[in-house]
C-alpha cells in the first residue's frame, strides 16, 4: 500500500503541475501575454488544491474504502480534464464575463487532483503512528518530485513534440489510468462498474488522436474569419500564428503568443512594417559595420538591416526557434537563413549579452513587443539599457520600440546622453544623433537582396525615403515635454516592473481598479 500511495502521490504531482503548465500556456495565449495570466492561473490552481484538500480530509474521515474512493475521484478528475479541453474555446477568451468560469474550471481540475493529497498521505502512513513525520515526508517528497518532473517533461519536452490540445487530452487519459490503477488494487472484479471508466479512457484516447481545436478559436485574427489563419507553430517556447493579409495587402501578419508581431513584408512601397524606422539608424550612423538584432520575429527588420550599405555582419538573438521555421516558408525573408553574413542564435537576448561581454556593435535593434506584456521590463529597464550600452562601439546606436510607453523615453534619457524619437521608436547613443549629409545616397545604396530597397518614386516629396532624409529629428526631451503623460513618466528598473504593472494595462477585474494606482494616459506610438 505504501508503494501505491507513493506512486499515486508522485503521479498526482506530475499531472497537476503538467496541467498547470498547460493552463499557463493557454491563459497567457488567450490574454495575449498579460502578466496577470500567470498569477490568475496560479491562484485558481491553488484555490482548487486547497479546497481539494478539504474534500480529501472529509473522505479520510468518512470513507470505508479510501482507495476505491480515490479511484472514483480520479475518474471524475479525468472527465473534468477532458471537459475542459472541449470547453476551452468558451472559457479562455479574454472577457470579464468568462473569467469566473475560467477560474472555476482551473480550480476544479486542480481541486479534484488535490483531493488525493490527504488520501495518499493517509494511505502511506497507515501503521506508522510512531513515525508520522517520516512517513508523511516520504509521501510529500514523492508528490514534490512529481511536481518537479511535471514541468520538465511537459514544459520542456512534451510541448515541443505535441500541441497543447493533445497534451491536455493526454493528461486526462493518464488521470483516468491512475483511477483504473487505484480501483484495480482496491476492487478488482469485472462488472458493470468498469463500463464508465472504460468509456472515459476510450473517449480520452480519441481526443488524443483527434483533439478539438483550442488555439485557433483563441487566436487573434483581427476580426476576420479564423479560416484566414494560415500557419500555427507550437513548440515549447510558445505559439506563433500567421494571418493572411487583410484585403490581400501588406504581407502576412505574424503573432507571437497572440500579440501582434509584424508583417512578412519588406516592400518599402507598401511599408506595412514601417521599416523606415530601421533605416533611420543607417541614416544617422556614420558607418555601421556590425549589427545586433534582439528578436528576429518574421525577419523583415533583419532583412532590411542586412542590406544597409557597409553592414558586414548581423547577429540575431531569437528566443523562439519557431520563427526560423516560419521564415523558411516566405521567399521575401527566407534568404536570411542561408546568408553567411547573418548568424542566428537561439537564446534569451539579455543572457546572450551577458555571456558575450566582449562583443561590440555599431547598431543594436529591437522591435520590442508591447510594453504591457509579461517580462518586457527585462528589455526596457535602465539596467538592461546599461548592459546594451556596454556592447555599443563609440557612436553606436540602439533602436528600440517604445510601444507607446513614455517611461521608455524617460529611461532612455537616464542611460544615454543623446536620445531621439521617430514613429514610436527610441534611438539612443553616446554621441549626438544627426542625419548624415549623404543620407539619400545611403538609402539609395540599401538593398533587399539584389534589388534597391527604395524605388526612385519614394525619394519624391512626401515619399518615405524623402521624409527619412529631410524630416527633422525630434529629441526625447522635447517629446516628453509635449506629452500628456509627462508628469507620470518614471525610470523603468528591473525592480519596479513599471511597464508591466503600474504603467501597464490594468487587470481584467474592473472592481480592482479603485485599489490600484492610476495608469498614465496612453501616448501615441
Amino acid at each position: 500500500m505504501r508503494h501505491l500511495a507513493l506512486l499515486l502521490s508522485f503521479s498526482i504531482g506530475f499531472l497537476s503541475l503538467s496541467q498547470e503548465i498547460v493552463w499557463v500556456r493557454l491563459v497567457s495565449f488567450g490574454q495575449s501575454g498579460r502578466p496577470h495570466a500567470f498569477s490568475l492561473v496560479l491562484a485558481a490552481f491553488l484555490i482548487g488544491i486547497a479546497l481539494g484538500a478539504i474534500g480529501g480530509r472529509r473522505l479520510c474521515r468518512n470513507s470505508v474504502d479510501l482507495l476505491r474512493s480515490a479511484g472514483m475521484v480520479l475518474f471524475v478528475a479525468a472527465a473534468v480534464d477532458l471537459a475542459a479541453l472541449y470547453l476551452g474555446p468558451v472559457i479562455l477568451p479574454y472577457a470579464p464575463i468568462r473569467l469566473p468560469l475560467l477560474v472555476f474550471m482551473i480550480a476544479l481540475t486542480a481541486g479534484l487532483k488535490g483531493v488525493l493529497f490527504p488520501i495518499v498521505h493517509h494511505l502511506g502512513s497507515q501503521g506508522d503512528s510512531g513515525q508520522v513525520g517520516r512517513s508523511v515526508s516520504r509521501i510529500y517528497l514523492g508528490n514534490v518530485m512529481g511536481s518537479s518532473l511535471g514541468p520538465i517533461v511537459t514544459g520542456f519536452w512534451l510541448l515541443d513534440h505535441i500541441d497543447v490540445e493533445t497534451t491536455l487530452a493526454l493528461i486526462g487519459v493518464l488521470t483516468a489510468a491512475l483511477g483504473v490503477l487505484a480501483w484495480a488494487f482496491a476492487w478488482w472484479r469485472p462488472g458493470i462498474a468498469w463500463v464508465a471508466p472504460a468509456a472515459l479512457v476510450a473517449f480520452g484516447a480519441s481526443s488524443i488522436v483527434l483533439p478539438p481545436a483550442l488555439v485557433i478559436p483563441l487566436a487573434d485574427s483581427w476580426g476576420a474569419d479564423k479560416k484566414q489563419i494560415r500557419h500555427v507553430i507550437q513548440n515549447r517556447h510558445g505559439i506563433i500564428h500567421v494571418l493572411k493579409p487583410p484585403r490581400g495587402q501588406g504581407g502576412d501578419v505574424t503573432f507571437g503568443g497572440n500579440a501582434y508581431d509584424g508583417r512578412v513584408n519588406v516592400d518599402m512601397d507598401i511599408n506595412s512594417n514601417e521599416l523606415d524606422r530601421a533605416y533611420l539608424m543607417a541614416v544617422m550612423h556614420p558607418g555601421p559595420r556590425l549589427a545586433l538584432v534582439v528578436g528576429l520575429s518574421s525577419g523583415a527588420w533583419t532583412r532590411a538591416i542586412e542590406g544597409m550599405p557597409g553592414i558586414e555582419a548581423v547577429k540575431v538573438i531569437e528566443i523562439n526557434p519557431g520563427y526560423l521555421e516560419l521564415i523558411g516558408r516566405y521567399p521575401d525573408v527566407a534568404p536570411l537563413l542561408s546568408n553567411p553574413r547573418v548568424s542566428i542564435k537561439i537564446d534569451d537576448g539579455r543572457r546572450w549579452l551577458r555571456a558575450h561581454p566582449d562583443e561590440r556593435f555599431d547598431l543594436v535593434f529591437q522591435n520590442t513587443t508591447w510594453h504591457w506584456r509579461a517580462y518586457t521590463t527585462q528589455l526596457l529597464s535602465a539596467d538592461y539599457l546599461r548592459e546594451v550600452k556596454a556592447h555599443l562601439k563609440p557612436g553606436g546606436v540602439l533602436a528600440s520600440n517604445s510601444t507607446a510607453s513614455i517611461d521608455a523615453y524617460r529611461t532612455a534619457l537616464e542611460v544615454f546622453p543623446h536620445v531621439v524619437r521617430y514613429k514610436g521608436f527610441i534611438y539612443m547613443s553616446d554621441q549626438p544623433l544627426a542625419k548624415r549629409p549623404d543620407a539619400e545616397q545611403v538609402l539609395r545604396a540599401s538593398r533587399i537582396g539584389e534589388r534597391p530597397a527604395f524605388d526612385d518614386a519614394l525619394f519624391a516629396d512626401g515619399g518615405v525615403a524623402a521624409r527619412l532624409v529631410n524630416d527633422p529629428l525630434q529629441s526625447a526631451q522635447d517629446y516628453i515635454a509635449h506629452s500628456e503623460g509627462r508628469d507620470s513618466a518614471r525610470i523603468i528598473t528591473d525592480m519596479n516592473l513599471l511597464p508591466e504593472f503600474a504603467h501597464g494595462r490594468p487587470p481584467l477585474f474592473g472592481w480592482l481598479r479603485p485599489l490600484l494606482p492610476p495608469t498614465p494616459s496612453r501616448e501615441p506610438n
Binding site: 498569477s39 488544491i49 484538500a53 474521515r61 515526508s137 510529500y140 520538465i152 534569451d348 528591473d494
Partner: protein, 201 residues
C-alpha cells in the same frame, strides 16, 4: 485544556496561512530576479520551478526527520524555520542581484546550479514546515489524512492569496524589493504568533 488547545490550533493555522502567502510572494519575486541571471525562456522557467520544488521536497524529508526526532520541539523548530526564511528573504533581493552581476555570462548548466544553490536554503525551510506541523497535529487528531487536509488547505489557501496579491496588487504599489520585505514580515509574524503561544505555555 481544550480551550488552550483550540487557541494553539488557531495560532498555528494563522501562522501557517501567513507562511503560505509569503511562500508564493517569494516564488514569484525570486523568479523575476533569477530570470535576469538565467533568462526568460521556457528552459529558465523550468529550472526555477523545478529548483523550487526540489528544495521543498528535500525540506520535507528534513522536516519529517526532525518531527520524529524532536516531537516536543516541533513548534519551536517551526518558529526558527520561519525566522530563517524571513532572514533570507530580507537579504534575498540584494543577494540575487549581486549574484546576477557576479556570475553574469554563466552557461546554462552553471546558471541552473547557481539558481539551485541560491534557492536551496529557503525552499528547504519552507518544505520542512508542512511535515512538522502535520506530525504536531496528528498528536491531537490521530488521523494523518485529516491533519494533512486541514494544514494543506490552510497553507495552500494562503499561497493562493499570495498569488493574487502579488500579481494583482503588490506589484502595482511596490517594487520587487519592497514586496519581498512584506513577505519577510509575514514570516516573522508567523514565527512570533507561534512563539508567543509557546512562551505562554
Amino acid at each position: 485544556m481544550g480551550g488552550e488547545r483550540s487557541i494553539g490550533t488557531t495560532r498555528i493555522a494563522m501562522a501557517f496561512f501567513l507562511s503560505g502567502i509569503a511562500a508564493l510572494v517569494y516564488q514569484v519575486t525570486w523568479q523575476r530576479l533569477l530570470f535576469v541571471i538565467v533568462g526568460v525562456d521556457i528552459e529558465s522557467v523550468t529550472i526555477v520551478v523545478s529548483t523550487f520544488m526540489f528544495g521543498l521536497g528535500v525540506g520535507a524529508v528534513l522536516g519529517g526527520i526532525l518531527a520524529d526526532r524532536f516531537p516536543r520541539r516541533i513548534l519551536l523548530a517551526f518558529c526558527l524555520f520561519e525566522a530563517a526564511i524571513a532572514a533570507y528573504g530580507l537579504i534575498s533581493a540584494d543577494l540575487l542581484v549581486w549574484s546576477g552581476h557576479l556570475f553574469s555570462g554563466l552557461d546554462r548548466p552553471a546558471a541552473a546550479l547557481l539558481s539551485f544553490t541560491l534557492l536551496l536554503l529557503p525552499t528547504l525551510c519552507m518544505g520542512a514546515t508542512l511535515p512538522m506541523l502535520i506530525a504536531n497535529a496528528f498528536r491531537s487528531s490521530g488521523n494523518v489524512g485529516v491533519s494533512t487536509g486541514t494544514l494543506y488547505f490552510i497553507n495552500t489557501l494562503g499561497a493562493a492569496i499570495g498569488a493574487i496579491a502579488v500579481g494583482f496588487f503588490l506589484f502595482y504599489w511596490f517594487d520587487v524589493r519592497q514586496t519581498i520585505a512584506i513577505a519577510a514580515a509575514m514570516n516573522l509574524t508567523a514565527s512570533a504568533i507561534v512563539a508567543s503561544a509557546l512562551v505562554r505555555k
